[in-house]
Amino acid sequence: MSGREAILGRLKRRLAREGDLEAARAGEVMRRLEEAPAGIVPARGQLPDRERVALFERMAEAVQASVEHVPRMADVPKAIAAQLRERNLPAAVRIGADESLAAMPWEKAAPMEVRHGPSDGKDLAAVSHALAGIAETGTLVLASGADNPTTLNFLPDLHVIVIEAADIDGDMEAVLARIRAKFGKGLMPRALNMVAGPSRSADIEQTLILGAHGPRALHVVIVDG
């Protein structure tokens, strides 16, 4: 007998009910998977637009991300160039195939080298476009794929995440609704990364140090327009 049959057999012997009750059990499970009922959603994130973005900013800064606002997408490259100068990093970024990022006037930030595709581990800075933000915890949500390759989220020293203010939701449940709308019910991108602040460790004598294995710094650019 295979491991699968043995394990499921044991579980069923302990859980299965007679006739109708067993059918009811299956119905209950199907219903929950279909309806995915929301639980308790904290009041913290239930705010009007402006306050919600302000909460997102406050929570992101509380977990050591830096945050700035720009009026329009077209202003992003110059803001990123300024960040790289301030951090003494070379004027070079890695981006994926994301349309919004590709359409930006990178020439305005010259001399800036823009590399495309996944990271090979040699990039010092990368730029991603977030699918959504969660104000409740200052979290950014990124989906894998050619547009925003997952390696960009973890390999560079500086990770810049661009997010439009309208994509900042109050809570995780609102983001889950967005994901279902984009990918379909019961479907997910290969990797969905929720990121709150730069990488860190407290494994040596409980001393908190930033930059454990992932980015040493996380910079968030909120596009207000």
Binding site: A36, G39, M188, S199, Q206
Partner: protein, 473 residues
Amino acid sequence: MQMRSPRFRENAREALDNAQLQRALTNVETNFVGKRQAATDALPEFEALRDKARDIKNHTLEHLDLYLEAYEKKVSEAGGHVHWAETAEDARNIILRICRQANAKTVTKGKSIVSEEIGLNEHLSANGIQPVETDLGEYIIQLRGEAPSHIIAPAVHVNKSEVETEFRRAHTHLDPNRNLDEPTTLLNEARAILRQKYFDAEVGITGANFLIAETGSSVIVTNEGNGDLTQTLGKVHIVLATLEKVTPTLEDVSQILRVLARSATGQDTSVYTTFSTGPRRPGDPDGPEEYHVVLLDNGRSSMLGGDYQDMLRCIRCGACMNHCPVYHAIGGHAYGWVYPGPMGAVLTPSLTSIDQAGHLPNASTFCGRCESVCPMRIPLPKMMRHWREREFERHLQPASTRFGLGLWAFFARRPALYRAATGLMIRTLGLAGRRRGRFAAMPLASGWTKYRDLPAPEGRTFQQMWAERKDAA
């Protein structure tokens, strides 16, 4: 790993005498407790979320077979493979087979306590595959050849200078005169070395905090990002998880995530919460080419429907040990296996046997702090008491303990005799201890007085005082 729980008493004595360990343990109490309190105080819905989290897991356990089947179907649809492992040995063999098929020489690992439970590293090493732990704490203890002493802070027992010693011993290609005084320098050294390992490894193995039936996703929460590099850069990603990790929907996971990080480290959320669903897709420029899930039973299915089913709600946050006076005193290694503290005291006898782990449920003062902070509201003290009863029924305790309890039971069943005997004893002890208020030694009580004084009674028993108060009222 080798089971050292039967010699718990000796382990505990050695831990109490270990000055370095005692210094390190003060970090547990001072850091974790205050941070958890601050994080939970800041979320008014926290207590209601605990109820919700408990209800979600209870519901899932009642239908565990059906949710596992639904989960398996979704994993397959996403192009992943589910492997069912009844025992630790089955899981080790399945993982070794996948590694061999990938021609793996090096395997990176995100933190997985279940992999400690099945002794995976030893098995891979013995078969010529080098396992590399990438979580900083796990990396440190792997170099030291030790087991974790805490489920979320595996190297909490190690101090900075010991890490330095270990790094100088292991990283011999680096300048022996380099300065390693600061924790930051130590971290940067480990970061540089492990960065290369992620690229070298053919296979990355992680655990899972959740498996989602609705989508076929596995979820890991980390702060370092090591789990993500492990599972993104290898050709093959293997997820090792136990049956009870399955959770119905994304919304259900959201509920439990809100109590997990707050209970564990006092964070509102971990830095990285990653949902992985199947292997690399057409057009994907990165991610693993194969995605495997090894679903391990190893004793869980036998806990279902029994006295210890509630333990299957555990989400491994570590809050119970962070708040345990016994853990604070002796640390995690004394418990002698993978799972320390109150959760270990319940889980270890369930997964091994009460004959081997009988001391663990006795290592409790029943102060109840573990249950009061458990995000899943697991009745840990009640279950430890169950184990004590079983141990007593099976005559596993020493003759002297059984004789003492038998003597007490003789008197307890005869209330008049009990009152007379205790009244006389308390009066006598009260008189004898009148001057100093305590005893430094006492016949038959050396087990107590060897380590601390026994306070002298004040002349009357509780029952006498109770009766007086009732009369006065």
